[in-house]
């Protein structure tokens, strides 16, 4: 992987905080980062990898920050990006918002975290739930620092600590689906797919063993059952807690869940869905003076907007940005996916309640409609 150093820069390219992990790249190299970035942007060649001499900058941008990793090896690019995103995730869980201000306000914790997250260019402890057990903002309030090592640092189950206790044992399951529809200029649906995820909020004591049953078509075919509606999932991805080998062999989703909120799995379903919401828009230009935009949604809503315009006109061709619609439909999934059961077994034998909720949301690139 070989990350030489990690930098957090503000938008002007000033270093807010940095950590030199390997010492094999000159830290002053970072001064070339922003000029290079601006140059490439101007040339229309901007990419997430910038090269200066033998030093590569791999960078991502988050709110008003650049997170940059430098390396002079032919390292694994996807791993470096994954680590940078991990940084964002960990910092966000610590500070709610990751931005220039929160870095400045919490730089002690940031230094501590950078120290724990990576050593000699290799990621070490990156699970924020575990980090939070021994690096806390309250630490700054001096409560004679924790002397106990969290068990998770040495645990085989790295995503869950032992000895968690709840008065009431419950687990909440959210099935969230969003639809991506691509519509071409003639109004016909080019492609459509459903992207879904199952999120958990676990409030269970001890080390519970969970099993989730879905109306998975492959599973039903395996067990020779064929009643009721089933779904065919593609690109299924699981949280690291799920035993992948069991899923591969008999489609059982079994796992020891992380405590609190987590995303258990995500999937994609490739079916032809009728768009749930249909938008038509008409843009009419009245020479120089005004433009009329009519947006018609579903059967019930009609929006008509007039804009009075100044008579000065731009020569350039105007782009027609797609219309994005945000919506949420509770208690409904487009694909018809169902949680059939959630079995919870813990050695103390307590009774636990699973709660299930279904939500359909608008997708990322929803309804690109031009008329």
């Amino acid at each position: 992987m070989s990350v030489s150093a990690v930098f957090l820069l503000d938008l002007k390219g000033k270093v807010l905080i940095c950590r030199n992990y390997k010492g094999d790249v000159d830290m002053a190299e970072i001064d070339h980062f922003l000029p290079l970035l601006m140059q490439e942007e101007e040339d229309g060649l901007l990419s997430p990898v910038l090269l200066h001499g033998s030093v590569h900058f791999l960078w991502i941008k988050h709110s008003n920050l650049y997170l940059v990793a430098t390396t002079n090896k032919n390292s694994n690019a996807s791993l470096v990006y994954a680590f940078l995103y991990k940084l964002v995730e960990v910092f966000t869980e610590y500070f709610k918002e990751l931005e220039e201000e929160s870095i400045q306000d919490n730089f002690v914790v940031v230094y501590e975290l950078l120290d724990e997250l990576m050593d000699f260019g290799f990621p070490q402890t990156t699970d924020s739930k575990i980090l939070q057990e021994y690096i806390t903002q309250e630490g700054t309030k001096l409560e004679v620092a924790k002397s106990k090592v969290p068990t998770t640092v040495t645990n085989a189950v790295s995503w869950r600590s032992e000895g968690i206790k709840y008065k009431k044992n419950e687990v909440f399951i959210d099935v969230i689906e969003s639809i991506n529809v691509l519509v071409n200029a003639n109004g016909s649906v080019m492609s459509s797919d459903i992207v879904g995820s199952i999120k958990l909020k676990t409030m269970l004591s001890g080390m519970p063993e969970l099993r989730l049953g879905l109306n998975d078509r492959v599973l039903f075919a395996l067990t020779g059952r064929d009643k009721g509606k089933t779904v065919t999932m593609e690109d299924v991805k699981f949280h690291q807690c799920v035993r992948l080998s069991r899923f591969e062999s008999d489609r059982t989703i079994s796992f020891i869940p992380p405590d609190g909120e987590s995303e258990l799995m995500s999937y994609r379903i490739n079916t032809h869905v009728k768009p749930l919401i249909w938008i038509e828009s008409v843009i009419e230009k009245f020479s120089h003076s005004r433009v009329e935009i009519m947006v018609k949604g579903g059967k019930e809503f009609l929006m008509r907007a007039h804009f009075g315009l100044p008579s000065v006109e731009n020569d350039e061709l105007e782009g027609r940005p797609p219309i994005t619609v945000n919506f949420e439909i509770p208690y409904f999934t487009v694909s018809g996916i169902q949680v059939r059961y959630m079995k919870i077994i813990e050695k103390s034998g307590y009774q636990a309640l699973p709660w299930v909720r279904y939500i359909t949301q608008s997708g990322g690139k929803q309804l690109n409609i031009f008329i």
């Binding site: 990898v49 032919n74 120290d115 699981f238 591969e248």
Partner: protein, 720 residues
């Protein structure tokens, strides 16, 4: 950033740090240390506080310790002597009952990066390897790697290496993975960890315990393992199969990389099956939320397509661009789309690309137009229709790229020239930039007989030649006017005369003037002479077939899979087909000992015209024609290498341009490749050879260089 009042601040901080009252009050002491770090991260030079900070290190407050360590690690290299003082505190901390303190001390001890401290660090590191707390062992293991990178030439302690090997069986997965990382660093010169069967199987069995980073590391190291039997290979593959479904893109990619390296030797069928298996996860990664991951995945899809052209053809919709995607992703996606085109989807793909041509961002629009041009090599009618339609928009930047694209298209698809010539009428008014106008002039010159208005368009250009800034446009104008003159003398004679007169008498740019003079003298030699020089081929269909391109063997690129390399090629341009790769190597005029190159033969057919050579050399420097050194030319000719142009002998730098085709005589049938070369002699010892090849074939290149050096050797005894 200069920080005003920095010196004052440092003074004040020093006072505070050495104040016994502050030192006595843990809370105040820590907040003072904190202020030092805060000023430090603002860019103030606080190196002067080093000795005060060393004292602040002796504290029971872990947070304060951490802060002091951050300071010490930043400034240790400036104060090696004072750092010695810290070592004692650190070594004491290594005995602390709290494992967090022990690991902290050990980590920072190795982070000071001072070779002078190595002897003090070794003992605590050795003890750390046997610590009962895993977090200390993790740090200690990597500590050895750090020591080694500090003194890369020091002897390797075999006892440590053995201990690290045995710690691969440590209970803690992170310790195991860190051992791998450390051994890779320490044994770099020997090629990294030796992966035998026992280690490989152990690592495979523990893969599931590791976190994603560890899994990637283990999968990477396993690439070096060669299974002993086919059965073992299949066992490993089926064990790894679930990891292709990992939610983490890096793990999926590392698994794929391992699949490829396990399969690409020997078993082509399995290796192709692995590639097909790779398709779905890679496609899924192409849809990941982070644009950087998407970009990485797209680059790897391109790698895959080199060996399986047309794979994923049915999934072309996954490569349609989203409105808000960054330009680098859009451009990559279009490059992929070009590769995926087949009879079934070409209509849809072109429809989609057509939409991008009018994108608000000119870069995206241009990329889309060039993509259509490349598809046009296989589906010329449909593409030409779109391109012609775009000319109707009369947008400056669009017209320019369309004309350039048409020029490139006509060069490889002569059957398009008819429709292109029709479309060209009238577009000269919208062209503003020099690139576009050069393309138009080239087209007018080569196809002047078919564009009825050609002489009059040229005339308009000639009238404005005084205000023309770009030398490139002027030379192109000269050539074009000459060519049109050859096929339509009556209409062009007057224009040409005025242009030559202007260029010879008034032009300031020497290149333009020389070229005008050359044409002028050429005309004196007679019309037939001129024709034979100026009218070369109009096209070369052999260059650009998109469909049916030979698939590269997986082993060509398997090594660069899942590294930075596929991403780096991003700026190489839209041409994603295997490109002519320039080789630079210094060559001693002595033949290298044979390496099986005897099978290789060179051939002169098909012959290249000077224009073609120039076009192929792509922007290579133009060379004046002179008297070739006869001895060398003959020697090269005997070896079937054609010399294209020479600089006169006894001038420096001395250059020769040459080309040849390689032919394989051996049992393995391989396609011929075209080799273009430049010899450069700048005085002193040795001759520099730059060669370009199309398509790429390393073996053939080796053979070519061998023949060339042989020829040079025979001639060097003669004339040069």
């Amino acid at each position: 950033m200069p920080y005003l009042g920095g010196e004052e601040t440092v003074k004040e901080l020093r006072r505070a740090l050495s104040n016994p009252h502050v030192q006595g009050d843990p809370l105040r002491h820590r907040s003072t240390v904190l202020r030092v770090i805060r000023v430090m991260s603002q860019g103030v030079d606080v190196a002067g506080l080093f000795s005060e900070m060393v004292k602040a290190c002796a504290t029971t407050d872990v947070v304060q310790k951490k802060l002091v360590y951050v300071f010490l690690c930043s400034y240790a290299s400036l104060n090696p002597e004072l750092s010695l003082l810290v070592i004692n505190t650190l070594r004491k901390d290594c005995q602390d009952p709290n494992p967090m303190v022990r690991s902290l001390a050990l980590r920072n001890m190795t982070n000071l990066r001072l070779p002078s401290l190595v002897e003090y660090v070794q003992q605590p590191l050795t003890a750390g390897l046997r610590d009962r707390a895993a977090c200390v062992r993790r740090v200690a293991v990597l500590g050895w790697a750090k020591l080694h990178s500090l003194q890369p030439h020091a002897d390797i302690d075999a006892a440590v290496v053995n201990e690290l090997y045995s710690m691969l069986r440590d209970n803690d997965p992170v310790v195991m993975v860190n051992c791998l990382r450390a051994l890779e660093e320490i044994l770099k010169e020997e090629g990294g960890v030796a992966v035998n069967k026992a280690i490989a199987h152990h690592l495979l069995n523990r893969l599931k315990e590791c976190d994603v980073w560890g899994q990637c590391e283990v999968l990477g190291v396993l690439q070096r393992y060669r299974p002993h039997s086919e059965e073992e290979l299949f066992d490993i593959l089926s064990l790894l199969d679930p990891y292709l479904l990992s939610p983490s893109v890096p793990v999926m990619a590392a698994t794929l990389g391992l699949f490829l390296s396990l399969c690409c030797r020997g078993l082509p069928a399995v290796s192709l099956a692995a590639l097909r298996r790779a398709q779905a996860p890679l496609l899924a990664a192409c849809g990941s939320a982070s644009p950087e991951m998407k970009f990485t995945a797209l680059c790897h899809v391109q790698l895959l397509l080199r060996s399986l052209p047309g794979l994923m053809g049915e999934h072309y919709k996954r490569f349609f661009c989203g409105y808000a995607e960054p330009a680098y992703i859009k451009q990559r996606k279009m490059q992929v789309l070009v590769e995926l085109v087949n009879d079934d989807n070409v209509g849809f793909v072109l429809d989609e690309l057509k939409g991008y041509c009018t994108d608000v961002s000119p870069d995206t629009a241009q990329a889309a137009i060039s993509a259509i041009g490349r598809i046009g090599r296989s589906y010329s009618d449909q593409c030409l229709e779109i391109l012609t339609g775009l000319l109707g928009l009369k947008q400056e930047h669009i017209t320019s790229v369309v004309v350039q694209t048409m020029r490139d298209l006509v060069w490889v698809c002569p059957q398009c020239s008819e429709s292109v010539c029709e479309a060209l009428e009238g577009c000269e008014d919208t062209l503003q930039d020099s690139q576009g106008r050069q393309a138009l002039l080239w087209l007018l010159g080569v196809h002047g007989d078919r564009v009825s208005s050609a002489p009059y368009v040229l005339e308009a250009f000639v009238e404005q030649v005084r205000s023309e800034m770009a030398a490139g446009v002027k030379t192109e104008l000269l050539t074009a006017t000459m060519r049109v003159f050859l096929c339509r003398p009556a209409e062009t004679q007057d224009t040409l005369g005025r242009l030559l007169h202007y260029c010879i008498e008034e032009e300031a740019d020497m290149n333009v003037r020389d070229q005008a003079l050359l044409y002028y003298r050429l005309l004196h030699c007679g019309i037939e002479e001129t024709r034979s020089v100026l009218q070369g081929r109009r096209s070369d269909p052999s260059l650009g077939v998109l469909i049916g391109r030979p698939a590269e063997p997986v082993s060509q690129w398997a090594r660069s899979f899942n590294t930075l390399e596929p991403l780096r090629q991003c700026n190489a341009g839209a041409e994603s087909a295997p490109q002519a790769a320039p080789y630079h190597l210094a060559l001693d005029p002595e033949p290298t000992p044979g390496s099986g190159g005897g099978q290789l033969g060179l051939s002169l057919s098909p012959a290249l015209s000077p224009q073609q050579f120039e076009h192929l050399w792509l922007g290579g420097p133009q060379c004046p024609h002179g008297e070739p050194g006869k001895g060398l030319q003959a020697a090269l000719q005997r070896s079937h290498i054609q010399t294209m142009a020479f600089t006169p002998p006894h001038t420096l730098p001395w250059r020769v341009y040459l080309y040849t085709h390689t032919r394989w005589g051996g049992p393995a049938p391989r396609g011929p490749t075209l080799v273009l070369g430049e010899l450069l002699y700048t005085g002193g010892r040795g001759l520099r050879v730059t060669a370009k090849q199309r398509p790429r074939d390393d073996e053939a290149m080796k053979g070519f260089l061998q023949v060339l050096s042989g020829a040079l050797h025979t001639s060097s005894t003669g004339s040069c």
